[in-house]
């Protein structure tokens, strides 16, 4: 566990901007756009701004953390050396779950502060965490499958943008798992589906990663 944490710490040491981006989003950008709503004196607009910003930025933030970690392990110059340390049997799933937990903890104070202004936002928090879990699972699976963190990241990002732009489209919103237009709970959000599919993708990703290239 400590050694895995050491790996994560050293990885973030080399990818500091990717590590800091979600923190800046949560503790600088979101408060600013919420404050802009509050400045208008309309709390509903402020809450809408917060939800929109949170849904647009933070799932991508979780993705960035996973990207920062996996880019060392998939397709990098050091991959071969690192995989040989465990005879090709090392999988990154545990570290990704640790990042998930770390991301959860990192957001806690921000959401707690939001709760002071807007009442309980814990359902929103739960939704966000499940979305991040799903995104990281999807990214892990696609990156391992395509042997490219860039391709995997682009796919997840493309889906994220699709959600942001089409969540208000009545024909398309059924496909959107990111819903900046509604509060958690109001959308009849498929939490279980997200959790299950996220878990399945984590598992398949780990299984694929454990299988070295076969001739």
């Amino acid at each position: 566990m400590i050694r895995r944490l050491q790996l994560v710490r050293l990885t973030f040491r080399r990818t500091l901007p990717l590590f800091l981006a979600p923190i800046v989003s949560a503790y600088l950008v979101l408060p600013l756009i919420t404050a802009a709503g509050l400045a208008s004196g309309n709390w509903e607009i402020a809450l809408e701004n917060l939800i929109y910003g949170e849904q647009a930025l933070l799932p991508v933030g979780g993705l960035l953390w996973a990207f920062a970690y996996l880019q060392v392990w998939i397709g990098s110059d050091g991959e071969e050396t690192m995989r040989a340390c465990h005879r090709g049997k090392y999988v990154c799933a545990a570290e990704l779950l640790m990042l998930n937990i770390g991301f959860t903890v990192m957001l806690l104070p921000a959401l707690a502060a939001g709760t002071l202004f807007f009442g309980s936002l814990w359902t929103e928090y739960a939704r966000l965490l499940i979305q991040v879990f799903f995104y990281i699972g999807l990214f892990y699976f696609t990156a391992i499958l395509l042997r490219s963190v860039t391709m995997g990241g682009m796919l997840v990002l493309a889906y994220h943008l699709f959600c942001i732009f089409f969540c208000r489209n009545t024909e398309m919103r059924g496909y959107c798992l990111i819903r900046p237009d509604v509060l958690a709970g109001a959308a009849g959000f498929p939490y279980i589906l997200l959790l299950l599919s996220g878990s399945v993708m984590y598992s398949i990703g780990a299984w694929l990663e454990r299988r070295p290239d076969r001739g």
């Binding site: 050491q6 050293l10 080399r14 050396t81 040989a84 340390c85 005879r87 090709g88 090392y90 001739g215």
Partner: protein
């Protein structure tokens, strides 16, 4: 000990390894073969990076591996990069510092521990690669083209590091540079077209070529008897170095490991 038994590997339709069988004990082994002979693929199979299509590979628990393409995290310091590998190799935290510094000392980089990898020369990065391979007291060290890109001084340093490992782990060096194998390896394995041609020693290879290497004046080129194999034209002396089973119009030359190697490879061409 390393055991490789009937290992096969193919990429698509191309057979890269064809029933490779080897048993390696303590000592320094040179895996020698021309480009495309399957050296890197075999090393990757042994390191666990590739899974062979068939065959069995039995390795010790602790392996040190230096791949042909060794990339490091340029933003990290030498020490941090080593710490990364130490964590990967599950070296206990309390002994990590000592283990890392010992390995860096072996490759004469202890005084550069706090330098960023990005600030090092290519040869130094390669030495960091060797240091990480030594980390964790491996019982088997695999080094794929370890001297590629090193200047003569760095190559000499690397050979010294390998020489110091004698009596310790099993070391396998994969290379196409005959001179490296000649000066560092106790045993030589010739790989050609995915097959083991021979397991030999430098002395054996020289002995194989004895009486078959000729130094022929360039002006007698037209008198050469077929079949022969032109090894090279010696610059400056104007002589040809020729490998042949038949007597040639020139003097017999002292055979080298390279001559013995060419004798084997030529026989398969």
């Amino acid at each position: 000990m390393l055991e490789v038994s009937h290992v096969e590997m193919r990429f698509g339709q191309k057979e890269v390894l064809r029933g490779v069988t080897l048993t390696l004990h303590q000592g320094v082994y040179g895996l020698l073969g021309p480009n495309g002979s399957g050296k890197t693929t075999l090393m990757r199979c042994i390191a666990g990076v590739y899974r062979p299509a068939a065959g069995i590979i039995r390795t010790p628990e602790r392996i040190g591996y230096l791949p042909q393409r060794f990339g490091m995290f340029k933003q990290l310091t030498v020490y941090e990069a080593m710490a990364y590998f130490a964590a990967l190799k599950q070296i206990p935290a309390r002994t990590q510092r000592k283990a890392i510094m010992e390995c860096l000392e072996q490759v004469h980089l202890a005084d550069r521990a706090d330098d960023r990898i990005g600030a090092l020369s290519g040869g130094m990065v390669r030495r960091v690669g060797i240091a990480q391979a030594l980390l964790g007291c491996p019982e088997l060290i695999l080094a794929d083209e370890p001297t590629a890109g090193l200047d003569p001084e760095e190559r000499l340093r690397f050979k010294n590091v390998i020489s110091n490992l004698r009596g310790g782990p099993t070391v396998v060096l994969s290379t196409h540079i005959v001179e490296d194998v000649e000066s560092t390896c106790d045993h030589i394995i010739l790989l050609y077209s995915g097959k083991v041609l021979a397991e030999s020693t430098a002395d054996d290879l020289r002995a194989q070529a004895a009486g078959k290497v000729f130094s022929v004046p360039a002006d007698k080129r037209c008198q050469l008897q077929q079949p022969y194999h032109l090894l090279r034209e010696e610059a400056g002396t104007g002589t040809l170095r020729v490998l042949s089973d038949l007597p040639q119009p020139g003097d017999l030359a002292a055979p080298t490991v390279e001559d013995g190697y060419m004798l084997y490879i030529r026989g398969r061409m």
